[in-house]
């Protein structure tokens, strides 16, 4: 039977966005539809990942055309789990934005666009051909452009200028790489490309295409030295928007890099060494960058850059253990980063500012919430029982096996600096004695907003923190699943045979 259910995580957001469009200018109805829509998408994603989690690779051939010719969607363990986590983050963000996004933004289509963004994300996780991946990337960026500028504040427009330029440039570079691969190999289907890549003799052009794809995906995933747009833009939109951007958009670049490079170019030692060098630089530069910032969201932005390095280090080492660590870190990071940005949004409502010097006294004033935030923030660092610890352990083991002192040094230094950054936030925002400054009182609306809104903003943080704790509690089981993913990623034949059954 044709596995149509693989399309649900893509079609359901589209459907709910279209339904919401009928209620243009009626924010109340849209808010309700948004939460319901995201919840249904989440259920369908869980179904897809339940079907794939035992190691089956599901493919849907559009129009039932045989494999290399038509558009195909492929779901393996990695895509299944990523679709679920993306839908979960988007569900949390939609709950948060029901309360935090004002009627002004909502009546100009915030909620439908959020669904389109989720459609693009799920689409790119399930795409099985390179050009389709490009198209899903465009769906993502056009939705994110609207979300980042909606509201048209000065900072937003300035941030958007940089964000839009770099993303357009990345798309063009990616498209150039796709064109070269098509010219060399005559195919766009990833499995088919993977089979044909050994046939070509023109290694020079092939490596050019590889580097173009590396730069294209590298800009999207904010890898050193292509990250400058990220800290210039992610702190400008409302907290709900930065949360979904910080949690998911860079991770799509990482996913694309894993998928494409593991199937096509990873055997090349030059590419792997490039990955490792860029990863170590990314870890250290990002972590150092977070040290000098005093805006909470900018600190988190630099931490994104630093933590992207962990995943690329895993991809660069490319041993099974390293991939387990990298993929596990990817899962943890989606939840942790979304959560961190949502928390910064709540703190903004409490104190009227994102700047550390204007915060303070939160532990005294809101003790229970502070403990909740502490769990979330420290899981970002990977303090031992929490979810960030286990993937780092795998990565460190892999680095030991690969006998790479630089990677060990990078991971440990970046973790230490992340700890320092989080401790700085904790000290300034929670322990320091201070009440809201007089000129910020108008913006500090936490206590004056409705009880229902406060609950709506805290619930997603609770959900994500709980997920993060569960990732840590079930880390052994998740490690098993990641091992399955690592086996699938490091043996392209599994993927090829599943997508093109009669391949030689």
């Amino acid at each position: 039977m044709t596995p149509h259910y693989i399309l649900w995580p893509i079609l359901l957001p589209l459907l709910s966005a279209v339904v919401m469009m009928f209620f243009w200018g009626k924010p109340k109805v849209q808010r309700l539809l948004s939460v319901v829509g995201h919840f249904i998408v989440l259920l369908s994603s869980v179904y897809v990942s339940a079907k794939t989690i035992n190691g089956d690779i599901i493919s849907l051939y559009a129009g039932n055309w045989d494999a290399p010719y038509g558009i195909i969607f492929v779901g393996d363990v990695l895509s299944g789990i990523l679709v679920t986590l993306a839908s979960l983050s988007a569900f949390a963000v939609s709950l948060f934005s029901v309360a935090s996004i004002g009627n002004g933004r909502a009546s100009f289509g915030f909620f439908p666009i959020l669904q389109f963004l989720l459609m693009g994300l799920n689409g790119s996780f399930l795409a099985g051909d390179l050009f389709n991946l490009y198209v899903w990337f465009e769906v993502i960026i056009i939705s994110s452009f609207v979300l980042i500028t909606l509201g048209s504040e000065k900072a937003q427009l300035e941030g958007a200028m940089k964000y839009v330029t770099m993303n357009l440039l990345a798309s063009i570079i990616f498209l150039t790489g796709v064109a070269m691969l098509y010219g060399l190999l005559g195919s766009l289907n990833l499995a088919d490309l993977s089979m044909r890549i050994s046939e070509t003799e023109d290694r020079g052009l092939l490596n050019t295409a590889a580097v173009l794809l590396l730069v294209g995906f590298g800009i999207k995933s904010a890898l050193f030295p292509m990250y400058f747009w990220l800290p210039a833009s992610y702190h400008t939109p409302p907290a709900a928007v930065s949360a979904i951007f910080g949690g998911l958009l860079t991770k799509v670049g990482v996913y694309a890099m894993f998928r494409v490079f593991s199937l096509l170019f990873i055997e090349d030692s030059f590419i792997r060494n490039t990955f490792i060098t860029l990863a170590i630089s990314s870890m250290i530069v990002g972590a150092l960058g977070s040290m000098v910032q005093s805006n909470m969201r900018k600190i988190f932005s630099y931490l994104i850059i630093s933590h992207i390095g962990f995943m690329f280090a895993g991809l660069g080492m490319f041993s099974e253990l390293a991939i387990v660590g990298a993929v596990f870190y990817l899962f943890h990071d989606i939840i942790a980063k979304t959560n961190a940005f949502l928390i910064s949004g709540i703190i903004f409502k409490m104190r009227g500012s994102f700047r550390l010097e204007n915060l303070g006294g939160l532990y005294n004033r809101f003790p229970y919430l502070s403990i909740l935030f502490a769990i979330a923030l420290f899981s970002l660092v990977g303090t031992p029982p929490l979810s960030g610890f286990w993937p780092k352990l795998y990565l460190l083991q892999a680095a030991f096996q690969a006998q790479s002192g630089w990677i060990l040094f990078g991971i440990l230094l970046a973790s230490l600096l992340t700890l320092l950054a989080v401790v700085r936030i904790w000290r300034a925002a929670f322990w320091q004695k201070q009440e809201t400054k007089a000129y910020l009182v108008d913006k500090a609306i936490w206590l004056t907003c409705l009880r229902r809104d406060r609950i709506l903003m805290i619930t997603p943080v609770v959900i994500l923190t709980l997920t993060s704790v569960l990732l840590a509690v079930y880390s052994a089981q998740l490690g098993e699943i990641c091992l399955l993913i690592a086996k699938q990623i490091s043996n392209p034949d599994i993927y090829i045979n599943a997508v093109i059954p009669n391949s030689p």
Partner: protein
Amino acid sequence: MEILLAITIGLLYAAGIFLILRRSMVRLIIGLILLGNGANLLIFLLGRISKGKPPIIPEGSPVFTDIYADPIPQALILTAIVISFGLQAYAIILVKRAYRVTKSDDLEEMITTDEL
């Protein structure tokens, strides 16, 4: 024909990169548009251009009897053009709004988001 197209593509890429390195917002957008068109032409060129060979199976024959032009690059370019058209429309409006807010065409003055 290939040589001519290759030179055109090279010029488009070069002009695009030159323009996005300028400090003016308008030039930046025009540069991105040129780069996008260069990429589209590149797909066209790399799909092996051929003349007078439409990919149509001749009447009375169940299969192709001659070499034929690859139709996929055209589908790809059409998709890419439509996408870039939408993105360019957005980018132009963004430039206009940004100009109205910052009162300047100079990208060097857009530094308020970079403060520590």
